[in-house]
Subunit: 396 residues, 2 copies
């Protein structure tokens, strides 16, 4: 029985993980949960799964949950809150495996603590590798414990890498759906609306990651994650556009053989893979091969999607630059969703923040978090300036 | 230094193997060669590679070669001939690795002898698995030595299988180019000419294998090979048409993940893989990923390509049926190439021979060879009857 902690249990990955636990209750048990802001769902999850520990974001929510759970007779669950609560969930002594799926830097401290506590990690939190990749991967190596990727691309790469030794890998090919604007002419990018950008062709995801897909920044983050997770150089990680998202990624070996992973677009599959690795177990997540018609591929257009280029520049420089990249993107995407900046303002904001960020190497999670705050401030200033600038432009 | 014997050195696979040895002369050495009927090329190969032993098909050719090599000062090469010669080449004590690439049953005895002698085998001879698969694979298992497939599909499967354990494999997907008649309407199959059938869209190969591709019997043989080589059941081996031949085959695992192998269409790659396994070494055989546009797939049409159905029926019945399948096909293809029977006469001949073959299990290579001869005789009789029948039809 593998005892699981889920960081981000009320999010999309968290809910998919719980579906897996439900389907394979003979193999997996929920030991602890860290919920997001959906406290109602957290309450239901506590009633259903009886975790030893449940963490929520705010103290008052924790207080109310405690009372409701007591009234419902579910007093076996201890309710905690905040970063300390998430860390307690991640490092609980009875936990074997931590699914790290809290979006944003909020998951960083808890995931790092779980790695230090020697837990096996299923990694769906992008920031862990983008902002703090060197710290987290080196600690996992020191612990001798695996970091198993739970996003479809890196999970696919992990599978394909089994076809050879690490030193036999020539290149990693991350596939990209190309997002909703693959065929949109470059000159129309300035007028892209929020509704258009939220309309992703193949995956249903949260708002930020959907916009990150539309700008292809998401793919840029994945390049950085691949560099850190698979301990390789940026030049060995390439992106290829594949609109159907059936091939989730590929690995090219030195002999010229390429292995590609194909499957349905359902996050349950990479979660199941991470939870059962090095085994594979039977699932109903079947790809219908005989209905397969066409798979299309083309190189990405870095002029239309400058975010991808910025990500390469950031990971080449390393350290603080990738912290700034992520922080600036989060601020810029929020500003775009709030109507403060146009779609093309997202890469402009990130470029401005990267320019103002000195390149150095963070030595601790604390330093990463400090740099992250600083970069957010720079990004906010730039957004405010552009927003007032565009208001002025609009008035004229 | 891996010391290599090549059975079929003057054929296409043999020449590609020698190119590999040439490119990696620090890793591989040619120790013995068994040539086909191209004695001139055998002479050149002996001068170039100085094998300890060279075998040719006929005694008189061996006599002439001996004299010519002596005159050329290349007396270090001993020249032998016939089946005994090929067996000596395959079992030479200084040989580590045998590339089995003699087309037809001629390669059977020598390959079986090599397996019994504990050699590592790179297998490109179809008959070894189609006609004598159970004998050869069980002997290889007893020896604890690998049988490494050197055709692109099974080599691809071998690579993809590294992504999981044997018991985690749900299905093997062999890709098929579909041959030159993929889009030809069924009613035109009777009028297909020899020239049309020899015009394969993606691979340049020998005449028989090209016709076998046009009827899709080649894919049927590959299904049988996969069943024997990977020790699985026919229902777990499926065929999918993929005209570009970029994906060489796939493996579907029980969790729903599929691994696919992609590479250039150059036999040097599977040969290199087999020779270096479990390592991979650097090659110039690069697939140009950024020029990749479309990959198309569709299910095979068993009504248009009855040979594929016949292969499934033969392997389900096992033993003698697959011996008869191969023998009947060889006779039928030769008759088609000689203008004796129409294209549609190929499956008709095979069906007739299968009907007349009792299902039993050969216990030795000798029994396989006897059954093979008998099936050829039945096939010849059927071809002669159809040929005279069609002449009569033409006179009327």
């Amino acid at each position: 029985m593998k005892r699981i902690a889920i960081l981000g249990s009320t999010g999309s990955i968290g809910c998919s993980t719980l579906k897996i636990v439900e389907s394979y209750s003979d193999r997996f048990a929920v030991t602890t949960l860290a919920a997001g802001s959906n406290v109602e769902l957290a309450f239901e999850q506590a009633l259903r799964w009886h975790p030893k520990l449940l963490s929520v974001v705010h103290e008052d929510a924790a207080e109310r949950l405690r009372r409701r759970l007591r009234e419902a007779g579910a007093s076996e669950t201890e309710v905690v809150w905040g970063t300390a609560g998430t860390v307690a969930v991640a490092t609980h002594p009875e936990v074997d495996f931590v699914v790290s799926a809290i979006v944003g830097v909020a998951g960083l401290e808890a995931t790092y603590a779980a790695v230090k506590a020697g837990k096996e990690i299923g990694l769906a939190n992008k920031e862990c590798l983008v902002a703090a990749g060197e710290l987290i991967t080196s600690e996992a190596r020191r612990q001798g414990k695996p970091l198993l990727p739970i996003d479809s691309e890196h999970n696919a790469v992990h599978q394909c890498l089994r076809g050879g030794r690490a030193e036999e890998v020539e290149r990693i090919w991350l596939t990209a759906s190309g997002g909703p604007f693959l065929h949109t002419p470059r000159e129309e990018f300035a007028c892209i609306s929020v509704a258009q950008a939220l309309n992703h062709p193949t995956w249903k995801m949260g708002r930020r990651i959907t916009i990150d897909s539309a700008t292809m920044m998401n793919k840029g983050f994945e390049v950085i994650e691949a560099v850190r997770l698979f301990n390789t150089s940026p030049s060995r990680v390439r992106v290829i556009v594949h609109p159907q998202s059936s091939v989730h990624s590929m690995v090219e070996f030195v002999d010229g053989s390429i292995l590609a992973q194909v499957s349905v677009t359902d996050m349950q599959l990479p979660i199941l893979y991470a939870l059962t690795w090095p085994e594979r177990i039977e699932s109903k997540l079947r790809f219908d091969m005989l209905s397969l018609k066409h798979l299309d591929f083309c190189p990405p257009d870095l002029d239309k999607f400058p975010c991808l280029r910025l990500a390469y520049e950031a990971v080449e420089a390393g350290g603080t630059k990738t912290v700034a990249l992520n922080a600036a993107d989060e601020v810029a995407v929020a500003a775009f969703l709030d109507g403060e900046i146009p779609f093309s303002g997202i890469p402009a904001t990130i470029q401005a923040v990267l320019n103002e960020t000195p390149a150095c190497k963070p030595e601790s999670i604390y330093e990463v978090l400090t740099m992250d705050s600083e970069a957010r401030e720079v990004a906010r200033r730039f957004v405010n300036a552009s927003a007032s600038g565009s208001r002025i432009a609009a008035i004229r």
